[in-house]
């Protein structure tokens, strides 16, 4: 392969590859030796112009130049130089760069320049809000750098301008918006397997700051979900690594946990016994579903209220239980001999002259406790308050003293009315609590006072004590006494109807006999609760010589307040036992008589106790509803689930325990609970509002449901199904007023 060597022209010009311009005739193969100048002009042209300049100066030179020009023939004509490859490349790049700069500058002129430079569309809701503001002002609403704010204003502050309402504590910039001590508490109590921060960082965690934009990335377009967080982000801190919800997520140990229940309801016995007896289907929705409302966990509630849920069976029973009322105060019974000793006793009602008998009710005891004379007397009473049970030696004195005090009480209230009544109660409460009643207790006292008719006591004063019916016919006296004796044997309730029948017939005959000719005026029969006070209220029981209260059925305010007051006193006794020697009142107020009547029937269902989240003692009358503002780590919404046919039946998830004593799960809970209690006792007691362990314990033990299995959720919740991201069930922003955290929320405890 040989090639002819090019003709050797030793004077042929060398190329000039670095020159910006190439001779226009190079393409024809005859480039000039000199080449174009730097400015792209043909060198001949330059030469010629120079020659023209010189022409005027020296004629010789110009002649010479002309001659030179002529000798070259056509090649000596000036050419049109072309750009060399690299120079045209650079020119192109330069022009494009200038164009680019120009476009950018032109864009700066337009008032909508921000819209041009924005890196992406805003999310739907932000776009809606910002759509109204001027384009020029839009950026500065979220970007602190864009206007003359000091460096102390961060973007988070700008976020919180709008968002402080629903994530109030996000300004803390701490993990989960929690306070440092809350975080510490959680980390102390959580087994290290669940949350272990990468080594070296655990100390910094308290101080580690987060900012909104770390997770909520804006400018990703209208459809972008600002709240969408990848699971990896959660696992930045939560180092218990697992693939997904279906693989590796900790098993539920007690979910959904019972929580603190305020209404004692035995699902099992209702389902198996009562509903079957009544031939009704035990439908969860009847009591728990309220489609009109929406709560924290959707339209499913702890209870939809007594009237809807329980009323159909229980309202009649409660009503009938309360028909005869409750002897709030009863005149104590004294023997004839004692009455003669004192002037005061000369006006003692005849019906109460018998023997040392009668019961000093807890209410009476409470009211009498303010009497200074009573301090020595009341402790001598037995717990039941039965006068006949007082020791033989003390009995006369005790009975007398109580009678005297009772007399003063009636007199006081008759004179002072509700004011005196309330004062008495207040003083009594103060005495037993050792402090001024707080505002809640004041409210209770008010409830106990409302509707108390002072004329009852006036009547008592006038009719029973001052205008003494000593010379009433012995029959009626006898009747009174016999009825009273019957009551002492505690059979009044059962036999009241019978008694009424007997007595009523007696009265009717006497009316007919004496007032036959008179216009038809009804003779006043003896007041009877079932007949005269079916809707409730106060009345005087002439027979038993007692002030009676008839409740209004379910949710009677007086009874509720009274039960609550008792509960307060009781729990106070529990707290201050040993230190505060309050012997005036017995330890248990809810002894046979009282329990049988007042708090007992309420407390059968209502579990009074401290409501969590507040320092005061409030009664849990209503089924507890978690406030929507308090966010927990785990969230759940029943509403969408109930639309799915497969889980439409509540019992898919909430299975009743079949046999609690034999069930293994129950045992697991008990053990677990024991551990939990032991640990909490050893360690410092938690902040008051953190965990109410006692109630928690009871609830734990009384859990009637089989805990849920993760597999039940996984059936639907997988990536290709209903989704299984962390944030589908877990909240990040939990910091808010009333945040409480309990291990009950933690399903992965143990092992």
């Amino acid at each position: 392969m040989t090639v002819q060597s090019p003709e050797n022209d030793v004077t042929a010009s060398r190329p000039r590859p670095n020159a910006a311009w190439v001779c226009g005739r190079a393409a024809l193969g005859h480039p000039c030796t000199q080449g174009p100048g730097i400015n792209g002009r043909c060198s001949l042209l330059k030469q010629r112009s120079r020659n023209q300049d010189q022409q005027e100066l020296t004629e010789d030179d110009s002649k010479e130049a002309k001659g030179q020009e002529c000798t070259g023939g056509i090649l000596s004509q000036p050419c049109q130089p072309t750009k060399s490859a690299w120079y045209s490349r650079r020119t192109l790049a330069l022009n494009l760069a200038l164009l680019c700069t120009g476009i950018l500058l032109i864009c700066m002129v337009f008032p909508e320049r921000e819209a041009l430079y924005v890196p992406g569309g805003l999310s739907q809701s932000h776009a809606q809000i910002l759509g109204n503001t001027l384009v020029a002002d839009r950026c500065s609403l979220c970007h602190p750098n864009t206007h003359d704010l000091g460096p102390e204003i961060s973007q988070d502050d700008l976020c919180m301008n709008c968002h402080s309402a629903h994530v109030p504590d996000a300004h803390r910039r701490s993990a989960h918006d929690l306070k440092i001590d809350e975080l510490k508490q959680i980390l102390d109590r959580v087994p290290s397997q669940l949350v272990s921060l990468s080594p070296g960082k655990s100390q910094q965690l308290w101080n580690q700051e987060t900012s909104c934009a770390q997770c909520h990335r804006e400018h990703h377009g209208k459809q972008h979900d600002l709240q969408a967080i990848t699971n990896q982000r959660c696992q930045s801190c939560h180092k218990q690594q697992f693939d997904s919800f279906e693989y590796g997520h900790p098993e539920f140990k007690n979910y959904p946990n019972a929580g603190h229940r305020s209404i004692a309801f035995d699902h099992r016995s209702h389902a198996e016994k009562y509903f079957t007896q009544k031939n009704q289907s035990f439908d969860c929705r009847q009591c728990h579903l309220d489609t009109a409302k929406n709560g924290v966990v959707g339209n499913v509630f702890r209870s939809v209220g007594f009237e809807k849920a329980c009323g159909s069976c229980h309202s009649i029973a409660i009503q009938s239980e309360l028909t005869n009322g409750w002897a709030f105060l009863q005149v104590p019974c004294l023997p004839e001999a004692d009455l003669t000793m004192s002037l005061e006793f000369s006006e003692w009602p005849r019906g109460a002259v018998f023997d040392y008998d009668g019961k000093v009710s807890f209410a009476l005891r409470l009211l009498l406790s303010t009497d200074p004379e009573m301090s020595t007397v009341l402790p001598k009473l037995p717990r039941s308050g039965d006068l006949s049970r007082v020791r033989q030696n003390d009995r006369p004195l005790v009975a007398r003293k109580i009678a005297q005090s009772f007399r003063r009480l009636v007199n006081e209230i008759a004179a002072g009315g509700q004011v005196a009544w309330r004062k008495r109660l207040e003083a009594a409460l103060e005495l037993s609590l050792g402090r001024d009643p707080n505002y809640h207790e004041q409210a209770l006292l008010q409830k106990l006072t409302i509707g108390l008719p002072p004329d009852l006591f006036r009547h008592m004063e006038q009719q029973w004590f001052r205008t003494v019916n000593r010379i009433t016919d012995s029959d009626s006296l006898q009747e009174t006494l016999s009825t009273r004796l019957r009551h002492v044997s505690a059979q009044l309730q059962q036999e009241s109807d019978e008694t009424e029948l007997i007595l009523g017939s007696d009265n009717d005959t006497s009316i007919l006999e004496s007032d036959a000719e008179e216009p038809k005026l009804q003779k006043l029969a003896r007041l009877q609760a079932s007949r005269h006070l079916p809707e409730g209220g106060w009345y005087l029981d002439e027979q038993l010589l007692a002030v009676r209260y008839v409740a209004q059925g379910h949710a009677d305010p007086f009874l509720a307040a009274w039960s609550e007051l008792l509960h307060i006193l009781e729990s106070h006794r529990g707290e201050g036992e040993g230190q505060h020697d309050s012997h005036v009142l017995p330890w248990r107020s809810t002894d046979a008589a009282d329990r049988a009547f007042v708090p007992g029937s309420c407390l059968e269902c209502h579990q009074l106790g401290k409501t969590s989240g507040a320092n005061d003692i409030w009664a849990n009358w209503r089924a507890k509803i978690r406030p929507a503002s308090v966010r927990q780590f785990t969230k759940f919404d029943h509403t969408p689930h109930l639309t799915v046919p497969a889980v439409n039946d509540c019992r898919y998830c909430h299975k009743l325990e079949s046999l609690p004593s034999q069930d293994g799960n129950q045992q697991v809970f008990k053990n677990l609970l024991a551990d939990e209690m032991a640990r909490s006792l050893e360690s410092q007691p938690l902040a008051n509002h953190m965990v109410h362990l006692e109630g928690y314990a009871e609830d734990y033990l009384s859990c009637e449901f089989v805990p849920m299995q993760r597999s039940q959720c996984v059936a639907c919740h997988r990536p290709d199904g209903a989704g299984s991201g962390c944030t589908q069930c877990h909240n990040y922003h939990v910091g808010s007023e009333g945040f409480q955290w309990s291990t009950g929320e933690l399903h992965g405890v143990g092992k």
Binding site: M1, T2, V3, S5, P6, N8, V10, T11, A12, S13, R14, P15, R16, P17, N18, A19, T33, Q34, G35, I38, E64, W86
Partner: protein, 331 residues
């Protein structure tokens, strides 16, 4: 000591370049002929000699021998060791390429005064199959077998073009070269705007032997320089032109057989041609590659090649040739 050929061989070379190879080889002065009695040991003292062998009706070049290389030792050793058998004749022919100075040491001197004092390991290996034996027919060896692992075609090409003269020959692998001219640009920017070589030249296979000064072993351009401007640097061995003393007589440019010297107009720093004061014509001077000796180290053209296509090799060294060009050509 004998001289063969013409010292000014480049003039004949130009005339004969067009003629067929067979004719040219047969015209070359014969130093030693194959098949004739091995009378002595030849040592090349200057120029290049072609080592060839008859192949059919022509001569096949096996190698070229440069300064200091020897011819005939193998045969002499063989004859010495196996003196009982018939002595071997020369196995190859040695021809002068252009001009050769050679020293002949007679056989007797070699066998008596040299061979006894040379270690056996330093001697060339034993001839296995002698091609020429007295009284036996000659068998042609297959063409592809070659002692130096250099393609025979390439060898012939290098010798025909006298390229084996070059010590710093610019070789461009056209299978890698994208013709981006970065080498030329680098050369121009380091040589006052004018490159001192042309990216063109003879091609063999993928190899292009560009028109850049090869800094010949036998630089014929230096012959007849009136001022001695073109000279060989004592230290580096490079052939350079002293710009101060070059008078632009074109002697070197015309005598260079490879057209690697050109006359260019002298320019000032801004690329404008310098004109003669009296005639107002541009001043010409010889220009050729100086291996960037003023900057030292590697030439910029080689450094500027983005594709590693450009190399500078010593073609007089067959080892280097086979290392750089050999394998790819064979494959």
């Amino acid at each position: 000591m004998e001289s063969f050929g013409n010292l000014e061989w480049y003039a004949d070379y130009r005339k004969e370049i067009g003629k067929p190879a067979k004719e040219r080889i047969s015209k070359e002065p014969l130093i030693a002929e194959e098949g004739t009695y091995a009378t002595g040991l030849w040592i090349i003292r200057g120029g290049f000699a072609r080592l060839s062998r008859l192949q059919g009706a022509g001569h096949r070049t096996l190698a070229y021998l440069g300064k200091g290389e020897i011819f005939g030792l193998q045969e002499l050793v063989h004859n010495q060791n196996q003196s009982c058998n018939a002595p071997l004749p020369y196995q190859e022919s040695l021809r002068a390429i252009g001009y050769v100075d050679a020293l002949c040491i007679p056989k007797l001197t070699v066998t008596e005064h040299i061979l006894p004092f040379v270690r056996r390991t330093e001697l060339p290996p034993q001839l296995q199959e002698a091609r020429y034996q007295f009284g036996q027919p000659v068998i042609d060896a297959p063409l592809e077998t070659s002692e130096y692992s250099v393609d025979t075609g390439l060898l012939e090409f290098l010798v025909d073009r006298r390229l084996m003269n070059g010590q710093k020959t610019m070789v461009i692998d056209t299978e890698r070269c994208t013709r981006c001219d970065d080498c030329v640009k680098a050369c121009a920017s380091t040589h006052g705007g004018t490159p001192v070589f042309i990216r063109e030249g003879a091609q063999y296979g993928p190899w292009m032997f560009a028109q850049a000064c090869m800094h010949c072993e036998d630089p014929v351009c230096m012959i007849g320089c009136p001022t001695g401007a073109i000279h060989r640097d004592r230290e580096s061995g490079l052939v350079n032109i002293n710009e101060q003393t070059c008078i632009g007589c074109k002697g070197c440019a015309e005598s260079c057989p490879y057209d690697n010297v050109r006359m260019v107009t002298v320019t000032d720093g801004k690329g404008r041609a310098k004109l003669d004061h009296d005639t107002r014509l541009p001043i010409l001077q010889a220009s050729k590659c100086d291996m960037c000796s003023s900057s030292g180290g590697r030439p910029f053209c080689q450094a500027a090649c983005p594709h590693d296509a450009l190399v500078r090799i010593d073609l007089s060294d067959l080892g280097q040739v086979s290392q750089t060009l050999g394998k790819e050509t064979q494959s």
